[in-house]
Amino acid sequence: MALSRALAFDGVGFSYGNVAALSDVSFEVAAGERVALLGRNGAGKSTIVRLVTGLVHPDPGSVWIGDWDTADLAPEDLARRVGSVFQHADQQLFARTLREDVGFGPRALGFPAREVRRRTDEALDALDLHAHAEQHPYDLSPALRKVGALAGALALEPSLLILDEPTAGLDRAWRARVADALREHAERGAALLVVTHDLTFAAETLERGIVLDRGRLACDEPLERLLTSAERLKPLGLVPPPIAALSVALDLPGRPVRERDAAHTLARVAGGRSAS
């Protein structure tokens, strides 16, 4: 059913002038699916973000948000279904308080004040930002401003979230909060497409990995298999994150890549060993 498909790239190519940024890229993301977009800088990740948000249009091929073809719509129309956070999102805030900025999207889409308030509060709750809600965005660190921009995207309650390096510069506690907020949003049916270099974050939060290499799709498979095969990752400029590397080094059954699963397996195996 088309609507369960949140996003689809169909034979997409794109070039800036005569430089081909993407060639023949096709993949689909279902509602509720959590996808990591990986690859070296310059591999085409940011171009995919611009295509999904409708800032640029594919040539050849087409990009679908559910049953909408992005070629027919402007970014402000797509904003009803697509929540986006760009690489330098810390530069787009301007309200006097963080709360007011988070409400910018819903207000721009024309929701009544009561609805804007509800969405803003829920987004601030999801990211535990209440302590900073009345603060001036520029009294926060750039990384926290970016979390504020993420709250602004969540407040749109989109069916698809497209995020470019949402955890850049965040400490472990904030990264865990962002991870929880995104998983919770996915459980409510939203699809996630997250550009990141932070493979630990990807392992904790997402389930599928798409790797771009020089504008082409190099891999598209579950993260648990991808992140534990060092020889597949190396040519793509990637290295297995610590927990995946440990799973392989200790030959843990099931090769867990998430901390919770790895801790559970470690405890079980350690218990077994000390008993024998």
């Binding site: 070296r40 800088n41 660190s141 510069g169 994150p241 801790a263």
Partner: protein, 258 residues
């Protein structure tokens, strides 16, 4: 002999009541690599600005305590695009901006600039316009611009922020080789997993004061893991409720496991 000495330093930003740094005492000697870790807003960036002599001189505000510094310090901030001189239209001139301001003779400038370009593996970019560079290339040009001034204290604030994993590994290798030459390095990073192979000493900052200081093994201690500042492997060991001391890295964990 210490290249940088902070003795009981407290610092207030202008028009703010509570201090950004409180009673900081820290020494960094030649060849040392000291890493500052802490939650967002713990004061690491402010401490680097104080060490570089930019706070309070440029930021304004008030400082108590004493800061003693060797000949010359260079700081690299996490936003490369604000660090360009704006007066150079080629990468070579950009890297030469610092030495030229110091009034060095022409031949000395050329020697230092060419050496710095080699160190950062950006010699092929020498005649490129800085505005046309990628985030990663720009970061290396800025670091080269600092190294070309031959500082004995190098200060780095989130040096790998704009880099992909390969670029980040190259910067960590460079930091080790700088210390190898006798330079003192003081850096702040949220990439804690990289520190065991890089830093000699870890300083844990919380709300502007030093909560703990010690060997890299500090990053496997329970209190740090609880604050979310331990390494991923230590955090995993703790989550699995396995006995302390927690292993610091994958290699430690494998040895401990056998």
């Amino acid at each position: 002999m210490r290249t940088l000495g902070l003795d009981d330093v407290t610092f207030w930003y202008p028009a703010t009541a509570n201090p950004a740094l409180e009673n900081i005492t820290l020494d960094v000697g030649p060849g040392d690599i000291v890493a500052l870790v802490g939650r967002g807003g713990a004061g690491a960036s402010t401490l680097l600005l104080v060490a570089a002599g930019l706070a309070p001189r440029v930021t304004g505000g008030r400082l108590a305590g004493t800061v003693s510094r060797g000949a010359r310090a260079g700081i690299v901030l996490p936003t490369p695009w604000t660090q360009l001189s704006g007066m150079a239209f080629t990468v070579w001139d950009e890297v030469a901006f610092g030495p030229a301001n110091l009034g060095w003779p022409g031949h000395a400038i050329s020697r230092h600039v060419d050496h710095a370009l080699e160190r950062l593996e950006i010699a092929p970019l020498a005649s490129r316009d800085p505005a046309s560079l990628s985030g990663g290339e720009l970061q290396r040009v800025i670091i080269a611009g600092i190294l070309a001034m031959d500082p004995d204290l190098v200060l780095l604030d989130e040096p790998t922020a704009e880099l992909d994993p390969e670029g980040a590994r190259a910067v960590w290798r460079l930091v080790r080789s700088l210390a190898g030459e006798g330079k003192a390095v003081l850096l702040a990073t949220s990439d804690v997993d990289a520190l065991p192979d890089v830093a000699d000493r870890i300083v844990w900052l919380e709300q502007g004061s030093v909560r703990a200081m010690g060997e890299p093994s500090l990053l496997a201690e329970d209190a740090l893991c609880e604050a979310g500042l331990g390494t991923t492997v230590a955090g995993l060991w703790r989550a699995a409720a396995l006995p302390a001391p927690y292993p610091l890295t994958v290699v430690d964990a494998v040895q401990r496991w056998r």
